[in-house]
């Protein structure tokens, strides 16, 4: 079974963790994740500047490690990211900003990638809200 997973909430929201646990369970069950798409506030899950309190789970780090470990296609919506100050090196240079908070394994791309993922997957599962 091919899954496309869209995340609409930041790393500190329970739904982001739920998406991560779902994705882990999907791979453990022998399924494929064609793409992870981070949209709206979900782009914050890809920030490499998040500092989680020591006694709390660092979901942003867990996402990063999960995507790297399984070499998944982790796409962050570029329009949603830019308006929230999430920039990779290319965008920081383009808009002459001082900070870069988005690096590999994440890739900035357009909303078309969500549509494409939905077309290629058997199931699109969205996580957001609380």
């Amino acid at each position: 079974m091919k899954f496309a997973i869209a995340v609409f909430s930041a790393a500190h929201a329970p739904s982001s963790r739920r998406a991560l646990l779902f994705a882990q369970a999907a791979l453990a069950g022998g399924h494929e994740i064609v793409r992870l798409f981070f949209y709206q506030d979900g782009v914050h899950s890809a920030s490499n500047n998040i500092v989680a309190p020591q006694d709390e789970q660092d979901i942003a780090r867990q996402w990063r490690e999960f995507v790297s470990q399984h070499q998944l296609d982790g796409v962050v919506c570029i329009a949603a990211a830019l308006r929230r100050g999430m920039l990779d090196q290319g965008e920081a240079t383009r808009y002459q900003r001082s900070a870069v908070n988005l690096e590999a394994p994440w890739a900035l791309s357009g909303l078309g990638q969500l549509h494409d993922a939905a077309q290629n997957a058997d199931r699109l599962i969205c996580f957001g809200g609380t």
Binding site: P14, A25, G29, R123, I125, G129
Partner: protein, 92 residues
């Protein structure tokens, strides 16, 4: 065409669950997760004949008891439900 409706908001803070129940078909099911697990306290839920599932960790975290008309699932169970039903509609 069957749909799994995923509800993560408490029915005591908004009307998502009510809206969901209104459009639920007889082949559909509802998966309660997060604060949506409080939906188990909503008697309207089991009078409709729609299958109801709840994410086990959210049931446990809120110390809710499982009614006989609902079924608990873990994450592998969640994945399986998303396959069993033709579509998954999350009530973000």
């Amino acid at each position: 065409m069957s749909t799994l409706h995923v509800v993560s908001h408490s029915p005591f803070t908004d009307s998502r669950l009510d809206s969901c129940l209104r459009i639920c078909g007889s082949q559909d099911a509802i998966l309660l997760c997060g604060d949506g697990a409080y939906g188990l306290q909503q008697s309207a839920l089991h009078t409709q004949g729609v299958k109801v599932f709840v994410l086990a960790e959210d049931l446990q975290a809120r110390n809710l008891s499982l009614p006989d008309w609902a079924e608990r699932v873990d994450y592998p169970g969640f994945v399986q439900l998303s396959i069993t039903y033709d579509k998954v509609n999350a009530w973000l």
